[in-house]
Symmetry: C2
Amino acid sequence: MAQSNYSALLGPVLAWIDSHREEALADLQRFCRQPSVAAQDMGMEEMAAIVSNALQDLNAQTSKIATAGYPIIIGHLPGHSQRRLLIYNHYDVQPPEPFEAWSSPPFAATVRDGCLYARGVADNKGTLVSRLWAVRAWQAIHKTLPCNLTFLVEGEEEIGSTNLGAFAAANQEIVKADACLWENGHRAADGALSLNAGAKGILYIELRTRGTAYDLHSSNAPIAPNAAWRLVEALHTLRNPAGRVQIEHFYDDVLPPNERERELLKRFPVDVAERWQSWGVAGTPSDPVAMTEQLLFEPTCTICGIWGGYTGAGSKTVLPATAGVKIDFRLVPDQDPDKILALLRQHLHKHGFDDVEIVELEGGEHPSQSPTDSALMESLIRSARLIYRQEPRVLPRTPGTGPMEQLCQRYGVQVASGAGVGYENSRVHSPNENIRVEDFYLGIKHVAALLADYSAT
Amino acid sequence: MAQSNYSALLGPVLAWIDSHREEALADLQRFCRQPSVAAQDMGMEEMAAIVSNALQDLNAQTSKIATAGYPIIIGHLPGHSQRRLLIYNHYDVQPPEPFEAWSSPPFAATVRDGCLYARGVADNKGTLVSRLWAVRAWQAIHKTLPCNLTFLVEGEEEIGSTNLGAFAAANQEIVKADACLWENGHRAADGALSLNAGAKGILYIELRTRGTAYDLHSSNAPIAPNAAWRLVEALHTLRNPAGRVQIEHFYDDVLPPNERERELLKRFPVDVAERWQSWGVAGTPSDPVAMTEQLLFEPTCTICGIWGGYTGAGSKTVLPATAGVKIDFRLVPDQDPDKILALLRQHLHKHGFDDVEIVELEGGEHPSQSPTDSALMESLIRSARLIYRQEPRVLPRTPGTGPMEQLCQRYGVQVASGAGVGYENSRVHSPNENIRVEDFYLGIKHVAALLADYSAT
């Protein structure tokens, strides 16, 4: 078979997918019914075995590579073209709590009104299984695949991918594919698939203050330091009310959008008005394109949590001995989390807050940006047009964070994201996480088409 | 009997007290073994009955006056002089939690190494029982009392004395005594009894902010309001780092110390160095007299608690929908909590924080100040010298708060505080609350002597 033939061979593959919907759905339910909550060490070994067995069933050369945490499952599948595509997914899911907010049990994988409800079905078991079934469909019809594939399925994405960087450094022969198809994706309200080629980085820290050795009666306030006030004073130096971070040199490495990225921002602005309405935020955004640029290209300093003293019902006249705040800095190319941490330290020192303790909660994550016109992205766009019969929405990056830099960008591997089976109401990380069953079938077809296109380009 | 004879008659009364120590201690243990936690509605009826019966045993004209909350117990005891002394105490105690921090159960009333351990023994059952036994001693020896007494024992002091003001307004014939002896008191590390004639007021509120209808993924930060940041910004306008409240007109009604009060500050400065050491605060206070003035005469704005977003272990990338803070404003004469609340509202409005909600948690408490040279205070001082053989430490007021204004000052009744049985390690409101048994006996004698002195002056 010549590479250019693959697209012509796609028709029967798509037909096979249509005639195997029930089996594919049942397989996805099987994946979803196995809890795999890394944060709670629940069902992880069983889930790793399910993934590993599924890859072996596809005749993949499968290995389970131990890490300091949960193992990483690798599955190599040979294909006819020279190209090798790395497919990144994860087998862990977020904790399901609060249980009482679910309409059906989070690991029951119940289908209701055309939707499949399960913790992890959108993020990202549905996507993982759709990719496995795309392979199965190609094999069923043509015995072989259009290109070489390497599945990399880690078990720690929801707890910070702590061991992925070390794995990548030690296994560059696995990582250095021609491109990497990232986990997950979703269709917007208008049905368009959202594609992107990057993610923000993150620095997540706590600041902690201590005023006294123990909580005091608040009548001592005139002659005792107050840890909560001290924290408020330190915080107030970090950010102005417009959201601009006040740390010196914080913005030094921030790259503005390039020409192609600006075009995409103009073409596919986020519907901020709709989001504001959903969030209960008053007013109308004046310029959606500018706000989309803000969303994707502005680094932030966000209070994720703050605490100190008495927070129960009613009043307690206590002077808090300690207070703390959790902050995430979302970083954009080319900011470096280690450098930002150093700048934060300098900032606190300069403003007289040497007493404020910085606690690093996780290793930071570098931002990542691949070109939005890579071969893989172009293939994703063309195959999305074919399957969804609709132009996909391509944006430079997601405002979220993923370990793309440490797995791929550091080794020159370009990433494209957004082939997945979620939709705008998938409630990722929330109760009643779900996908539309039809999106699952379309997702299988999209990947099947992608393999053909990527091999042929 | 002529009034001037009472002091001469005191000797046998004190001797009787010495020979009835065991019975008095057993009676105090009985009071302490009855839990009476108003905040938890625990044992309140039983405790009210114990107090009421104890007053009836002294042949007091006793009544239990219903309120919207727990009843107030009144006991009138006739005496020979014209003077009538109102004695204020309360029969409720703080919650005993955390139980595991107690060396013996909080309601076991165990004596260990000369100390009696029990929730409420220092605040203020020990003081109440010492006063009852002073009456009993006078009755045992002389059948009658030096002056008229009215015991007023409420059941809601630890939950804000919510119904005391209405009671006082409706029962002025009870309240309008010649003076009021306030609950409680303690001996400093050097053994000196601490006396005072006033208390700060309080305004206790919550400020609450809302940014979005529900918590968002923190990646939305560039285009979503953050309730925690909003709260920090509002808070920062309220107080400068030196502790000075920035609300316009906040200090307008603050009275500086008068000449007599200044003398007392100079004579009995608080040992701030010792407190700082105990609190783990670095440095040495430069001017203890100035700091004592600060402690007693400066109003404050104290963060008692602050919360918002995720405060558990590790990291969660959440953008908090709501945040809140509990603040107490300690007020000094002649500040008015209602006026301060109005000023706070104006302040938030003026600074563009109309969206910040103010929640009043309890009715505010007015500050209160009686003269430090009232007849009752002079009697307290003289009788303290007699019994403790040591000069008492007289300061204008306590930095704490009590309902003196609504019970007494509003009706022209002067208050003196500090006759009590606690000491510097009594751990009021904390686990292992305790008094020294010897202080309990001295407390009975002090009140017995006070009754003689106050009648004779």
